[in-house]
């Protein structure tokens, strides 16, 4: 008879999904909780920079599209929290970890959203980078996560198209709009590349996660895909590529590009971005302000239950 661990590895190798009630190594569970909750927190924190422009969206159509998008992010946060809950952690615990700084969220949201073009750039580049990663995660070994990703990818690709289309309107618009678009591209291009994480050689969790097929492609491979697909998109917009070192490499069949500013990457991850404190404070403030509302629901439900029980007792008597 084979051991539980051998059976687990057999499933992984056979591309069978691991389901919540299946045996799994503790570290597999931990890695998944870390990755899924980080992903959920990113969706939830991501509502802030984009929500920041809902009240200022420049047309009613753009306002409606942006509200829908932020609403989708909230929905993604919900699926992902639920997926993580199948691993034995509660939403309340995850929120506590987010607020205490124990759990991370994507560093991209620690960059400030300053202009309307930033909203377009986020849809195009940030959702675009997220999709490259998430498409590969549709094949992740954990069933609930994989199914969540399939659903989320559909909506994200819609966001990406909307973002690009909004960017196109700006790039083909007035000189002022075009300048705003270029500025947003210049600021968000590099942080978008950083979303794929450190170089493979520097990535603490990568190796085991690849072996267990939690991650299916390496950070550097995914980043390369994104770099390659973005070159032509920038050309179509008629904007300048922010990377002066971008150059087609015939031999590799990929674009060569300049190295990222890794000092900035680690600095933002370690709390020194423009908005790290603001994002968490906003989340804490909304959560704390909502406490009396949550208490009211609990009190109301328990009153109703008491009443129901009393009525039932009466009927029985």
């Amino acid at each position: 008879m084979i051991s539980e661990e051998q059976n687990f590895m057999r499933k992984i190798e056979a591309e069978e999904k691991i389901e919540p009630k299946d045996w799994m190594p503790d570290q597999y569970r931990k890695n998944l909780i870390r990755q899924i909750s980080q992903h959920a927190h990113s969706e939830v924190i991501g509502m802030q920079p984009e929500g920041n422009y809902i009240t200022r969206a420049p047309s009613l159509r753009r306002k409606a599209v942006l509200i829908s998008k932020v609403q989708d992010e909230a929905g993604h946060g919900l699926y992902l929290y639920s997926a993580a809950e199948t691993l034995g952690i509660s939403r309340a615990e995850m929120i506590e970890q987010l607020q205490s700084g124990k759990a991370k969220y994507s560093s991209i949201f620690n960059y400030p959203v300053l202009t309307w073009a930033d909203i377009a750039a986020i849809g195009w580049l940030v959702d675009g980078a997220a999709i490259v990663n998430q498409v590969s995660l549709q094949r992740t070994s954990y069933g609930p996560y994989s199914r969540g990703m399939i659903r989320i990818c559909k909506e994200e690709s819609f966001h990406q198209r909307q973002g690009y289309e909004a960017m196109l309107s700006l790039a083909k618009g007035s000189a002022g709009q075009k300048a705003m678009a270029q500025d947003a591209l210049n600021r968000f291009y590099w942080p978008a590349l950083m979303m794929f994480g450190p170089h493979d050689s520097e990535s603490a969790h990568s190796q085991k996660s690849m072996e267990w097929k939690i991650k299916r492609e390496t950070n550097d491979d995914l980043r390369q895909k994104f770099i390659d697909q973005t070159v032509e998109q920038i050309e179509v917009l008629g904007l300048d590529h922010p990377d002066k070192g971008i150059k087609w490499n015939e031999e590799r069949g990929h674009y060569d590009s300049s190295d990222l500013n890794w000092d900035e990457f680690w600095s933002v991850i370690n709390g020194n971005g423009h908005c790290n404190r603001q994002r968490v404070e906003h989340h804490v403030a909304a959560h704390d302000e909502g406490e009396w509302v949550r208490d009211a629901i609990t009190a109301y439900n328990s009153k109703k239950n008491n009443k129901k029980n009393a009525n039932q007792t009466k009927q029985v008597a």
Binding site: M47, A64, Q71, L78, G173, S174, R294, A296
Partner: protein, 254 residues
């Protein structure tokens, strides 16, 4: 359509569009500030419904005006003195109880207004009402549930809900005011005679507030002026924020 009726209908569609965009904007201010994630989603939904209504009313107004303006010109290029929304809609979001009580007042109002508008001889107004009726059913279910839970929840939630009812009550009276424009349209079978909705509104709101263990305020004060552009100080700030990007790039497409 006679010129007088046409002008009145343009004014009427603009008023209804203003109510929708202003309330939709206020609701949207809650997104990422709700008490839990599900509420952020719900706020998004309700806000989207109102922004959608605003677009339909303004598009119709633009069609009647036929002067090259579009929905965004109505929303973004008029100032607070030109806006014709009811004051209730422009009040700041306040706390969660304040927003839910305002929503209840508005939802009950639309519950009675929209079926009347559905009967309008004007096909466009009737079609907009047909779509909005379905949304309002869901909105009312939600705001009613919340007012019940807050009113009959904890001591704190009860106090906050009562405070909101008292603070907003004086802004509800103008919901039922008629003027010449609306009377002309009501007589023509195009607009709704809102003065006839007051009893039903009061009965429904009273029923819900009573079930929520809340007290219906004595009629002591009433503030009016939305339909003549005599607003509270809040609207100017709201429009400043809403219109800043649009107006900073004159004549641009987005």
């Amino acid at each position: 359509m006679s010129e007088a009726i046409k002008a009145a209908t343009l004014e009427y569609a603009t008023r209804l569009g203003d109510d929708s965009v202003v309330l939709g904007h206020r609701i949207s201010e809650w997104i990422s500030y709700g008490p839990f994630l599900e509420e952020d989603i719900a706020y998004g939904n309700v806000s989207l419904d109102y922004i959608g209504r605003a677009r339909m009313f303004y598009t119709y107004a633009a069609e009647l005006a036929n002067d090259g303006r579009d929905e965004d010109d109505f929303a973004y290029m008029r100032n607070d003195r030109e806006y014709r929304n009811l004051l209730l809609m422009e009040m700041p979001k306040g706390d969660f109880a304040y927003s839910q009580v305002r929503q209840l007042f508005a939802d009950v109002y639309y519950t009675y207004l929209l079926p009347e508008l559905l009967q309008s001889k004007d096909e466009t107004l009737s079609a907009i009402a047909a779509k909005a009726i379905k949304e309002t059913k869901y909105h009312l279910r939600r705001s009613r549930d919340w007012v019940l839970r807050l009113g009959d929840g904890t001591e704190e939630s009860h106090q906050r809900a009562q405070k909101a009812v008292d603070a907003l009550w004086g802004y509800t009276h103008e919901l039922f005011d008629m003027d010449e424009t609306e009377q002309l349209l009501a007589d023509a079978g195009i607009g709704v005679d809102v003065s006839k909705l007051h009893d039903a509104w009061l009965a429904k709101v009273s029923e819900i507030l009573t079930e929520a263990t809340l007290t219906i305020p004595e009629d002591e004060w009433a503030v009016r002026g939305g339909r003549i552009g005599y607003h509270t100080e809040n609207l100017g700030h709201m429009l400043t924020e809403m219109q800043i990007v649009h107006r900073s790039f004159p004549g641009c497409k987005w």
